[in-house]
Every structure is written in C-alpha cells, then in structure tokens.
Symmetry: C2
Subunit: 246 residues, 2 copies
C-alpha cells in the first residue's frame, strides 16, 4: 500500500440479494465512482438482514479500509435493521435523530401524509452520525466514523454516492488503457506474463471473452503512471503483432 493509496470496502445488505430475487446494481456503480476518484475498492461483502452478520462484516471492513460504504436496510419496515446494526458495531445507541425527525416531519406534513411510526424509523441513526442528504425521497443516509450508510434502492443509492464522493479524501487517479486482442488467453498467456514481469508498476489484467465459438481477450493496463501504461501497451501491441505474423 503506497502512502497515497486510499482504500474502500463495501457492504451490501439484504436477504433479497442472497436469494437472487434482486440483482444488485449498486456494487458496480460504486466501483466505477470510486475508481474514477482514485479510491481503490478492495473488498465487497453481501450479507443478509441479520444483525450479527452485519456487525461482524462491518467491523472487519471498517478496521481494514479507509472508507466503508453500505447499501440497504435503512427503510421504514421491520426488516430494515442497518441503523441498529451499525450503532451496535460502533457501541453507541441508535436513536431518533432530532434533525432527521424535523426534516421528515416537515416533508410528510407538506404532502399531507401521516408521519407514521414506520416513517419515524427512518430518522433513527447511531448517536453522533452525520446526515447524507437524500434528494430523491428525503430520508437521509448517514456517516459515522469512516462508514457511509446509504439506501439500497439504486436511484437513492446513486444520489447518496453523488453527495458524498466529493467529500472523500482521494488517492492518485488510477489510469487505465486497454487493447482488444483477437487471440485467446491460451495463446497470449506466456508472453503476457513476461510483459507483466517487465512492467512492475503496471497491473495487467486479461479478460477473456467468449462469443459461443471463439475466445478473444481484452487486455487492460492500470497504473497511476500514464507513461508506464504507454510503455506496457506498446509491448502488448508488439506481442499481438508477433502472434499474427506467425
């Protein structure tokens, strides 16, 4: 880990992700946003709406990474237990937050909707938490320590990520370039491994594609040094030309 590396873990929470009923759309979105910001997402976990599982995963991730981002479980129903679990993980109480109560109370009053006990649940957060605004549907996410707690509904999750991304300490931007290679990994694996050895400051990834009949490969080069990427790319292109000339 270099001095300028900023790291992140994500915890996606919800029975529906593990049953296959809902296909997660938040992991890929957060991954792209963090990558663009120069923050390295190093681990994702998905757990059920289960307090023990959430607390354990959250404590593991928050100890290990600069930032942790959670999705899901902050709605008004009985199975939304993320706020309580986060409070437990931090060893603080989970209470109705005065600012959130006012925000939501005004919101529902203005729409002639009853501020039910269920809706009041959405104002509960660990003591000491700071709001993440929710421009979509009002009920805020929150930040406590290095943990950012956000909604699971993708439109709300994305709006919350957009709120927080500018507030994060970011690392040096990770650049990338790629080359589409018409050969399968079996043809290029040997020489590509040699290229990786000669370009230690570039992470070279090889991603097979299969169209039902034939494999091809996308070769991706990632580095914080654009010159190093260009040098590796030149060697990759020479390798592809050499295979074509066989």
């Amino acid at each position: 880990m270099t001095e300028q590396q900023v790291t992140a873990g994500m915890l996606a929470i919800g029975d529906e992700l593990l049953s296959g009923r809902t296909k997660d759309r938040n992991i890929g979105f957060l991954a792209e946003m963090l990558t663009a910001a120069g923050i390295d997402l190093l681990e994702v976990r998905i757990v059920a709406d289960d307090e023990t599982a959430i607390v354990e995963a959250l404590n593991a991730l928050r100890a290990r990474y600069t930032y942790v981002f959670t999705s899901g479980g902050i709605g008004p129903t009985h199975d939304d237990i993320t706020a309580d679990a986060v409070a437990t993980a931090f060893g603080v109480a989970c209470e109705h937050d005065a600012k959130a109560m006012k925000l939501l109370g005004d919101h529902y009053a203005g729409r002639d909707m009853e501020f039910t006990e269920a809706r009041k649940r959405m104002a509960r957060m660990p003591v000491g938490a700071v709001h993440i605004d929710n421009p979509v549907s009002k009920a805020p996410g929150f930040i406590i320590g290095n943990v950012h707690v956000m909604a699971g509904v993708p439109s709300v999750f994305q709006a919350m990520v957009n709120q927080v991304i500018g507030t994060l300490k970011t690392g040096a931007r990770l650049h990338s370039d790629s080359v589409v290679c018409p050969h399968g990994e079996g043809d290029i694996g040997g020489p590509l491994g040699e290229i990786q050895k000669n370009h230690r400051d570039v992470v070279i990834g090889s991603y097979p594609r299969f169209d039902g009949r034939k494999f091809s490969t996308e070769i991706v080069m990632r580095s914080r040094d654009e010159g190093a990427i260009a040098a590796a790319k030149s060697d990759v292109e020479a390798m592809i030309a050499a295979i074509a000339a066989r």
Copy 2:
C-alpha cells in the same frame, strides 16, 4: 440454523469486479440456483486477484458454510491465481493434474492448437481436487473439500453450476410468495411489523420500488412451510385492504 438447513458462501474473484469494469453476473445466477435447490446462500465476498485476500476469504467462508462456490481466476494468464490460492488455503501443493493435462492436450491437438505453457496452467489444481466438467471450453473447474472452484466467464460459470447443483446435499425447499402493495413502506411498516411478529416461521421481506414519483412495495414471504406462507399472505392482504378503506 435448523437441522435441515444447508448453507453456502460465495467468493467472486477478480480485480475487474472491484474496478467496475466488469459487472458481476454470477452472484445473482448462483443465488437463484441455490435458492431453488433449498440451499441458503448466506454471504458473498468479492476480492481482488490477490493471493492473501483470496486465502483469507476462502478460509473464513469454508469454515462457516456447508458449501463454498468461487468464480474467476482459473484461466491461463499470469493474473489467474485462484488455483494456487485455493491450494494454499488447504495447505496442499498446486500441480498439473494428469487427467486435466490429458483432457486439454487432446482438446488442443484435435483443434490443431498449440498446448502452450499458458494453456497448461489451466490443468493446475490443488492435489486431491476432483474435476468439474466444462462443456463450454473444456478447461475444468474443481472441487476440494467443500469448495467448488469455477470460471468467471458467465457462460462457463453457469455450465459449471449446472454440473454441480445436482450433486449437492440440499435442504428443505424454501418456498416464497409475494404481494404487490400500492402503498409505500412508510404506510405499511407498522402493521407489517405486527404481522411479522404473529408469523414467526415466515420471513417477511419488504422491498420498496420507486418509479421516480411514488414508492410502492413488494412484500415477499419466505418459509419452508407453505401453509405458514398462506396464513401470512392472508394477513398482508387484509392489511392492504384496510389501508385502502381508510
């Protein structure tokens, strides 16, 4: 955990999933297949192509769940390190497997393709592992202990899951039913929580939907007892009717 519960964890491996470059499509597929088989997927982790990260996550998951399924990192290139990492996790050597060498050697000979060192990497597996057939592109996955190691390319991953699913010990089938509710979670959260309290053998999940203007809710009831689901559903429908009659 009941006597008949069979549990699973999944480990998705690959830098590309964490950078956002590739959106995972295997987690949702496996989740659906396991749910249909009566196996409860309780945790998913995504880690990079990093031996330490893979070993640690795999050892945590395989100690905790009946089965573990991995995706990714078993191709022919230098960044495919899953077989080595799994061997390390189990404390055994990773070697070219004789049966896999013959299978792949014959395969490439029959297609007039060179059996390169890179392709031979795909025959490497932990000593003692048993093959998972790959009807798509030949290179096998493998099983060691309770861990099933499969490819990351979705078409190959799916074919491998189809190979193994019938070999697994399965739990009692988890049934589910759902009710679409035109009210948001804020309106139903209170009474729905009461219904959950009255139906302890049914897990009631509430999934908000937002169409850009209005929230609605899908209420999902899951249980191994179909009669219990029917009873809970009846109460949920009565709740929705009562809200509509207000």
